[in-house]
Every structure is written in structure tokens, then in C-alpha cells.
Symmetry: C2
Subunit: 347 residues, 2 copies
Amino acid sequence: MESIGDLGEFGLIRRATGRALTPDVLLGPGDDAAVIAAPDGRVVATTDVLIEGRHFRLDWSSPYDIGRKAAAQNLADVVAMGARPTALLVGFGAPPTTSAEWALRLNDGIADEAALVGASVAGGDTVSSPTVTIAVTALGDLGGAPPITRSGARPGDLVAVRGRLGWAASGLHLLEHALLGRSGAGPDGLDGPDGFGGAAAFLAAHRRPEPPYAAGAEARALGATAMLDVSDGLLQDLGHIADLSGVAIDISAASVPLPPRLPGEKGTATRPGEGKTSSESAAGVPAAPDPLQLALTGGEDHAFAATFPAGTALPATWTVVGRVAEGSGVTVDGAVPSVRGWDHFRS
Amino acid sequence: MESIGDLGEFGLIRRATGRALTPDVLLGPGDDAAVIAAPDGRVVATTDVLIEGRHFRLDWSSPYDIGRKAAAQNLADVVAMGARPTALLVGFGAPPTTSAEWALRLNDGIADEAALVGASVAGGDTVSSPTVTIAVTALGDLGGAPPITRSGARPGDLVAVRGRLGWAASGLHLLEHALLGRSGAGPDGLDGPDGFGGAAAFLAAHRRPEPPYAAGAEARALGATAMLDVSDGLLQDLGHIADLSGVAIDISAASVPLPPRLPGEKGTATRPGEGKTSSESAAGVPAAPDPLQLALTGGEDHAFAATFPAGTALPATWTVVGRVAEGSGVTVDGAVPSVRGWDHFRS
């Protein structure tokens, strides 16, 4: 098997950068730096680092899915500013023994996700590292409009979300409780006639989030006053809007779009021989978190949450989940929630 | 000791981003993405990843120096395009037990290096990683001029360098051969009346390269046809210009600016009791590489190498080291060199 060490840094870069560049990339990989169009005279820029074992597991996700996810979370950040993504830069660290095929599939995933929004990979860096590490930077153009920040929410605004909440977290729960430590075990044992179309949809949501990228331009057109992408959980992320806007946000629990119930939940605990044919699934799925908890605290679906002036007629793609008020902090039905999300060092 | 885990991701980001932003940063840290001025309508962008044990050692370099180096190598890439750096984005991965003081000193080093060129840190990401990882993205503005790429060299052009060659590699050699494994040992034992001002200058060059940033604007004003920063060794990096320009480059060995000779070199091997007062330095420094070899193959000083039309009157800051000709590849005094530089996976 050819490794990235066999290929060498420059061989890998040559193989990975053979794809067509989008028109915004004026000078692509191969020089000291790339040159990317910034017609607006400003550039939106964000960077996220994904670490093996922390943000993905090599036995739970394919390299292609990891690439899709790494690109998606950065592209979603650009879109959450109301901007159009123009290009990605990709820093990649891995052991020299990593297969070249693995690295190239990762690159394919990144490039395919970027292509969804008309962007391409303009450059990057490839290094040796004991830990597989993916550092993605995304750039974007505002098209002459002001950025939609986290600081513009005003008392009286509607709070709305577009996209899924709690799906990726449900998938992660399934993997952690049913497959943990069983390297190579597929998700199929978890699927079954459980009423929500199989766990596969949750697992896919964890492995390859699908941010509704159209939300950015749509929110801008609708006059959004603040926006972000939900990466750490709705409550925690709305907390950033509340803090930076100097307002309070109250969520109506009944209005939050919920993921389907996980199997094995309290009240519906799986009994041996019932509904499942695999002993693995019967034994492996303990009591599951509540759908509301998953929707409020689960991150990584990269839904978009935004605030809009009161009275804005929102299309059906957006769900109103709460209201901005004078004050501070985030409440659910007027009460302070006990769990808000996750912190990358603490959880 | 307060750790970054104690502080938490958001606490660390709050503490690290308290510095003043430069005017190009229109929206700084705290939102989904930063917004940076790109008055030229284009943005120059580059990213480099530094890995503990590969690009720096925690027992050889202070966090402040590591930060300076991480910023410098990215800023040098922007300058090598003929652009003015405007902002950095910093991805930082480290174990949660890492001291907060360490992380903040790293950040200080990055910010101070950026300040040298009038740039600041516009955003970033902080994650938990078993390996200390620093992913820096640098952005820059071309001010209306075309980028100085690697592909513009023409037969007849002069090849010139500005900055040091082989100094950082000399420092690395000293550390690898004299201090390896002696955690906590300072460099002072290597200093002495050895005729070049002490090994400290080499060690400093390795720990904190000082790219001559003024070279970028100067080369542009002088009509440089191609340029890059020397990160992997002069021969290997000039090889990129030769390849991408479709030309040959011949270096005149006698014209290459050399670092001072390392102590312990063949013919000047240190004898016990002679010239050194420390037993460590007498025992620790074996035969050293030749200064020419270090100058031709040593990377990480981030000197700038550029090609200029024949007849260009170069100021004394630039040293002409060779000539562009028809053909391909890089030669030294007409001969193909055996060692060209390093590859991040192979060396």
C-alpha cells in the first residue's frame, strides 16, 4: 500500500490539487500563497481545527466523510456571516505511514463539499504529525452587504432556526454506546423497524453534516439582525448572540424542531428478541437522552440560528423557536437550563 | 498552575484576544468568522501547520519563540508574493493540561511577530489535541500590483537572496548534537570564544527566525520576476522557481552568503580543555556540516530569494548568487548537487 511517506509532501500535494479551480481562485496551489478574489474589498475568514479522536474517529468515519465534515463546518461559518464562500485552505497533518489513498479521499471530501457552494481548495500545507489533524480555513465575500454578526439582535426580534438540531448528537450517542470499541463494526445492527427510518440517518448526520447553506443568503434577504451556525448546541450558541448583543433570549421548548426518538429510550427500552434481530443492538443501546435535550445541546449539525425583526414573514424553511427580550442569558420557557452545550477543553 | 482546561476554550480565547486590532481587521475574534480589509479586491492567503516534535520542541524553544516562528513563516509567505500582511488566523491544539501561561505566551509571540508588519490576529480556533499543534493562516493585500509568483523567472535573470542562509540549520545542528535529551539545559554551555560571537546567535536563529520583511516591497520595486521565501533550503526552493518558470538556475558557490563555521568542525575539532570552560560543550559537539552545505540546504531562516531582470542595480541588501538560464533544474557551479533540502514526510 502506498503511503503518504512514499509519495512525499510534494507528490501528495500534486496529486491532491489536480482538481479544477473555481473562478474566485486567481492563483491556486504551488506558490508561497494563493490569491483569491475579494470583489467586495473585504474578506470573510475563519479557521477550524479537527483532531483525530476528538472531532472524528478513524474507525467511525470514512476519510471522505471526515473531509466533507471538515469543509462543511468552515463553510457554514462563512455562510453564517451572510457571505458567499470563495475558497478553502487546508492544513493536513498525519503519520507518514498513512495511506495515500486515505489522504486523497479526505481531500476529495473537502473538495466535494466546497463544490456545493461553488468554492475550491486554493492552497494548503501537508506535514508529518503523530495525530491526524485537519486545519481548514474558509474565505468568503460579502457582496457589498454588512456582515451578519452575533451582536445585532434587538429586544422583540424573533429567534428562528433553519436546519436539523440534535441529529448529529443522536448519531454520536449511538456510536458511543453501541459501537464503542468495536472497531470495524458497521451501523447496520442498529437499524431496524424502530419507526424513524433506521439509525443510519443519525449516523450519517454525525459523519457528514449537511448545513443548509442557502440559509445565509436567505437570512440576509429577510433582514436577519444576527446569525450563527449551531456548532456547539443551540443553547450555548444562542448564548453567544445574547452575550454579544446584550439581550436575553427565551426559547419555547414546544417550538423546537426535534430529532426522532433514539431507540432504547426510557419507556421504550429494547427487550431481547423484540423488534431487533441482532443481539448486538439489543444489548448495546442503553437509555438514550431526550430528543429535546439533544436538540438544545447537541452540536455539529450546523443548522443556522438567526434573529429577525418582529413581524418578519419567514418562509417555511425557518422555524421560530423563541424571542429576544431585554436582559441577558438564554432561558427555556422562562427557566435557566442546566446544560448548555459543550466546551472543547472541558467536556 | 492554571491549565487551559481550567480556563476553558472560551476563557482562553477571551484572554488571548485582548490585544488591540490593526485597522485592516474590520471584525475581529468572537463571531463565526472575521472580516478583513482586502482593498485590492484580491486577498493573498497561505497556511502552515507546526507540529510539536516536528517543527519545534517544547524543551528547546519557549512558547513565545514558537509563536514568533509560527507567525513569521506565514507572514514571510505573504511577503514573498509581494503583498502586505493584513491579518492572521490561529488554530491551536494542545492537551487540556497545558498551562494557560504557556498558551498565552505563545499567543504573545504570534501577536508580536504580526505587529512587526502591522498585522494582528483576527480569529482562530482552540481545540484539545494530544499533540501541540499550531495552524496559522496569513492574509495579505497586493496593493494593486500583480503577485510575484514562482513562475516568472526568465533566462538571463539574476538570482539574488536577501537574509540569512544556514543560520537556523546551524542552530538546529547544535541542539540535535549537543543538547539532545538534556531537557532544561541552556545553550550557554555552547557559547565561548569561538570567533563567531557564540552559538547563541545560531540557536536564536533556529528558535526565532527573523525574515527581512522589507524584502517583499523592495523586490517588487526592483522589478523582481519571481520570488519565494527560503523555508526548505535554497537549492530545493530555487528548484520550485526553476520548475514552475521552466528554466534552469545555476548557483555560484563562491557568491553564497555563508553562516559562520560551527564549532567542532572537521579540522577544528574541539579538544578537551581548549577554548571551552564547560565540559558539556567540549564533549557535545561532533564534526559539523560545512557552512556551504548549511547555506544551500538549511531551511527555516526565511530569507527571500528572487530573480531580477539582467542589469538590475540591486542594493547591498541583496546578494547575487546565480543566474537563470534556458533548461531545467538547479546546479551549483554547473554541477547537479546531491542534497537539495528536505521533505516533510521523507526527511
